[in-house]
């Protein structure tokens, strides 16, 4: 009688499967992990390493054929002035986009985490996510129209009699150009727009975890709001800022569509990879270019960790 409950008849295959899984937790974990591990191992990392392996080969300059012998010659080519310019240009653009995104995102995220409640929080999420729901190409082309010489931005400057200001800005070398849509400022603006949600959301998540009493305690101990920001809020939100910057930085490093549609004709890493891989058929050099963002991100995370960016995790 005492084990009447355990004796309850076990009917059905599903019940028996659940019972077996419950008794063997290791088997459960193995079954849960196997498919994603296979996906990650073979398809994800496998293709990445296949690409990386390519970078240690070189192309024969006369025949245009890939020579399957280990060499660092391809990596050497990255340091030719033309290629090195591409790397520097891309890294500077990615850094600028990341810094600007962090500066713009922080107040938005702070408002959402601290003050927005109920309906306003829903509006915040909608506002941040909405741009992500429409096609990326549509957004980029819309920006081209906005920034074009006949575009709304130009019209606005004209209406406000501020065309001279825009002209003066566009005449600045490097960041200027014939119009905003063919300048690096345009590229920068579109990058900033497209990647902004990826910065806002992680910062908001990290700020959400900072209790109000933490800031009150800082003020109570004599810190002015600016000091509380520097010594308490920013360090506690830093993991979120770093997470966001990983997105904005790496996405900018790898993108090849935005600079192709909006910007000057000078290339970014993504365009270089695209060109070498496709039209030029120089897969080793394309692979070597693709390694650059990976190395930069690795270095960036290592420095961030060393500086204690993840201490608050």
């Amino acid at each position: 009688m005492s084990d009447a409950i355990a004796d309850r008849p076990q009917n059905g295959v599903l019940t028996r499967v659940s019972d077996t899984l419950w008794r063997k937790p290791r088997l459960t974990i193995l079954l849960l992990l196997a498919p994603p591990a296979l996906w990650l191992g073979i398809i994800y990392l496998g293709s990445l390493f296949a690409l990386l392996a390519q970078s240690f080969f070189a192309i024969d300059e006369f025949s245009g054929m890939i020579v399957y012998e280990f060499t660092l010659k391809t990596y050497g080519e990255l340091f030719t002035p033309a290629n090195f310019d591409i790397i520097i240009r891309t890294v500077v653009m990615a850094a600028a986009v990341t810094v600007a995104a962090a500066i713009i995102s922080f107040p938005i995220a702070y408002y959402a985490a601290r003050y927005a409640k109920g309906k306003w929080k829903a509006i915040f999420y909608l506002g941040v996510m909405l741009p992500l729901w429409s096609s990326y190409l549509v957004k980029v082309y819309s920006w081209k129209l906005i920034l074009a010489k006949e575009g709304i931005l130009n019209w606005l400057f004209e209406t406000l009699h501020l065309s001279w200001l825009l002209e003066a800005y566009l005449s600045i070398p490097v960041i200027g150009g014939n119009s905003l849509s063919v300048s690096w400022t345009g590229t920068f603006l579109v990058f900033l727009y497209v990647w902004l949600p990826f910065m806002v959301l992680p910062i908001q998540a990290s700020l959400e975890r900072v209790p109000t009493s933490m800031l009150e305690a800082s003020g109570d101990l004599g810190a002015q709001p600016s000091q509380s920001f520097r010594y308490v809020l920013l360090p506690l939100a830093l993991p979120g800022v770093i997470a966001g910057s990983i997105f904005t930085f790496s996405l900018t490093l790898g993108d090849y569509i935005i600079p192709q549609i909006v910007g000057s004709s000078r290339r970014f890493i993504g365009q270089a990879v695209y060109a070498y891989q496709g039209t030029a058929g120089n897969i080793p050099l394309a692979a070597a270019f693709a390694v650059v963002p990976i190395l930069i991100m690795g270095l960036y995370l290592w420095v961030a960790k060393r500086k204690g960016a993840f201490d608050a995790l």
Binding site: M214, G219, D220, G222, P235
Partner: protein, 334 residues
């Protein structure tokens, strides 16, 4: 005597909610002052008004004679021990304690020495290198205390600081806090919902209810001479007789209170004619005595039966009695 904190008709309303309503308090320098009340009674809001996290809707608050109107928290010589301690998770214990001094611009070596001394004061020497997450609840509480005290505040505010500790640790900390307060001579303003804590630690207690102070006084006064039924009931669950019943029994129309320990219980017929008939509803063992809940003429009452005395069973008819001295009469209007 200088007043450390003075509320003059201070109110704090949140929309239609009167969290703090026309409160007058005068807290003397060097006093251990407790604010006691149920949750939502306005005691914590009062503390936040002193700290500067809230501004009064009307009325004034002055700290050492100076109006605190429009003075932000970071310019008040007042420090707070928060209910959740609010230790900075990214800083180690020493830097947490030294935070206020760092903000004040004290050089690193000097402020670390002061922080180390403060940690010794709260019996945590050598814990400086640890992170708050590596400490127990009681240790965090001490760090929060050290972090506030290191700034030598004129008034120390404590917001239910012992609420999260287990009973033994809480009793130990109560004693330590009292000793510390005597030693430092700093004005302590202590918020709690635990009447035992307030009575055992404070020089004076203010009892809050619905945003108002209902009684201020020495712990003995609050306990033995409650002025209103709320105080009698909240502080140690006194048995409050409604005015009509008091009139029936002693001919005076006012609410009256008896402490549970003053109510004697006897089997039917054993007590004289002044005994009051009652029915036992429940009994619960609380260590040195047993708590007996009875109903007398429809009024719920509690009696404490000391160890060794015969216990009535649930449902028994009993007689209650008390000395006339133990019947405390309150203001008729209250």
């Amino acid at each position: 005597m200088t007043s450390a904190v003075r509320f003059t008709g201070a109110s704090r309303h949140f929309g239609s909610v009167r969290a703090v309503d026309e409160v007058d308090i005068d807290i003397a320098e060097g006093e251990f002052f407790a604010m006691l009340g149920p949750s939502g009674s306005g005691k914590t809001t009062c503390l936040r008004l002193i700290a500067g996290f809230e501004q009064p809707t009307s009325g004034d608050i002055s700290i050492f004679g100076q109006s605190a109107q429009g003075v932000p928290p970071y310019r008040r010589q007042v420090n707070t021990v928060f209910q959740d301690y609010a230790l900075f998770p990214h800083l180690n214990v020493l830097d947490n304690v030294a935070y206020g001094l760092m903000i004040a611009g004290m050089p690193k070596a000097e402020r670390h020495r002061a922080a180390e001394e403060a940690l010794e004061l709260v019996a945590l020497p050598g814990y400086g290198k640890r992170k708050p997450s590596e400490l127990s609840g009681g240790q965090r509480q001490r760090v929060a205390l050290a972090r506030a005290l290191v700034n030598k505040p004129k008034v120390l505010l404590l917001d239910e600081p012992l609420g999260a500790l287990d009973l033994k640790l809480r009793e130990q900390m109560q004693e330590e806090l009292k000793v510390l307060q005597r030693k430092l001579g700093i004005t302590f303003v202590f918020v709690t919902h635990d009447q035992g804590e307030a009575l055992s630690m404070a020089d004076r207690v203010a009892v809050f209810n619905e945003g108002k102070i209902v009684q201020v006084g020495k712990p003995e006064d609050i306990y033995y001479r409650p002025e209103v039924p709320f105080v009698a009931d909240f502080v140690g669950s006194s048995n409050v007789l409604p005015p009509a019943r008091t009139e029936q029994r002693i001919g005076k129309r006012c609410p009256a209170a008896r402490r549970p320990e003053a109510v004697k219980i006897g089997a039917v017929g054993t007590v004289g004619s002044e005994g009051h008939a009652a029915v036992v509803r429940a009994t619960s063992f609380i260590g040195a005595a047993t708590r007996v809940s009875v109903t007398m003429d429809g009024t719920a009452m509690i009696a404490l039966v000391p160890k060794g005395q015969a216990l009535p069973a649930i449902g028994d008819q009993v007689h209650l009695s008390w000395d006339a001295d133990d019947l405390h009469l309150m203001e008729p209007g209250a």
